[in-house]
């Protein structure tokens, strides 16, 4: 009996290690606040460990996504209520500007790829920045479906279970997200 929990603990540890960065980015796309995104990921990890650690490991991706998306939605609602009181102040601060060119805001911090030329590195980081911006702009449900299907590599049934909707809705959300993003990239002269 003692062996099972230990192996499941190791499994859970590797699962969380594998998804934590993507989960953070997902929260960032939706919330756009680093501290809040980190809190959301931590909360989602705790809930999964506390409530679903004994469930089969194959169910963890779907369960984690459901917890994460609910936490993102809750946080988004709370921030909307807060923003009612701080609209004026936030509009004066130099925050996210929808009209700004994403290519100008990309930090040149991608130094990890030693084999690539600086020009190629810049191109990649620019492309990453553009795609991240376009993902941020997607409607929440389309963004959830797109990220779960293509980034988390979940199948349609799992994505539907995590989102609490039909498989047909998942397909529709994914299709719309892909077309919107592809069109936005084409408008910037980018073809994937």
């Amino acid at each position: 009996m003692a062996g099972a929990p230990l192996s499941s603990r190791n499994e859970l540890s590797s699962f969380l290690a594998g998804i934590e960065r993507r989960a953070f980015k997902q929260a960032m796309f939706a919330i756009r606040n680093e501290e809040t995104a980190l809190d959301i990921v931590q909360d989602a990890m705790m809930r999964l460990a506390e409530k679903y650690a004994d469930r089969p490991a194959a169910e963890w991706p779907m369960l984690f996504q459901r917890i994460l998306q609910n936490a993102i939605r809750d946080s988004y609602r709370r921030s909307k209520v807060r923003s009612l009181w701080t609209t004026l102040l936030s509009s004066l601060s130099p925050g996210e500007d929808e009209d700004s060119d994403p290519l100008e805001t990309i930090a040149a911090e991608n130094e990890s790829d030693g084999l690539a030329t600086p020009h190629r590195q810049l191109e990649r980081s620019q492309l990453l920045g553009v795609i991240e911006k376009e993902i941020e702009k997607l409607p929440p449900r389309q963004r959830e479906a797109f990220l779960m299907r293509y980034w988390e590599e979940m199948d349609i049934a799992e994505t539907a279970a995590a989102m609490g909707c039909s498989e047909g809705s998942v397909k529709t959300h994914c299709s719309r997200a892909t077309h919107t993003m592809a069109a936005a990239l084409r408008a910037k002269g980018i073809e994937l």
């Binding site: 934590e20 960065r21 980190l38 931590q42 460990a49 911090e109 492309l127 980034w151 993003m181 994937l192």
Partner: protein
């Protein structure tokens, strides 16, 4: 591979590159969050294990409950019989003692050897 899937696949490759450039502060915080989550899971597991011990004790007890009740009933019955017998014997001695004391013959007569001899002789002759 249709166009949508191909687009998704390419977008994933680019998004994954972004994961390697996350700030050190963020990755440290994520690591800490993971450790905290795992410690919560450890607590839950140990609580479950304790509950498991209780469950085992419960199972062991209830599986033999019928036998235990039978043994306890037998013990109580044997003890009851022993005490009841002791009580009856005491009552019998009490009756003999009170009969002796209330009789016309004084108790000292029973210590007299001649009286014993006479009693034996009298009972022998009466039986013949």
């Amino acid at each position: 591979m249709n166009q949508e899937t191909e687009f998704g696949y390419k977008a994933r490759q680019i998004l994954n590159q972004g994961l390697d450039t996350l700030d050190g502060k963020v990755t440290a915080r994520l690591h800490q969050a993971r450790q905290e989550a795992l410690s919560v899971e450890r607590l839950t597991v140990s609580r479950l294990q304790t509950a498991g011990v209780g469950h085992m004790v419960e199972l062991a007890f209830f599986a033999n409950a019928r036998n235990l009740v039978a043994v306890m009933a037998l013990t109580v019955g044997a003890m009851g019989t022993y005490y009841w017998n002791a009580f009856e014997q005491t009552q019998e001695y009490e009756e003999i003692d009170s009969a002796l004391l209330a009789d016309e013959l004084p108790p000292s007569a029973y210590l007299d050897r001649g009286f014993h001899a006479w009693l034996e002789h009298a009972s022998d002759s009466s039986s013949q």
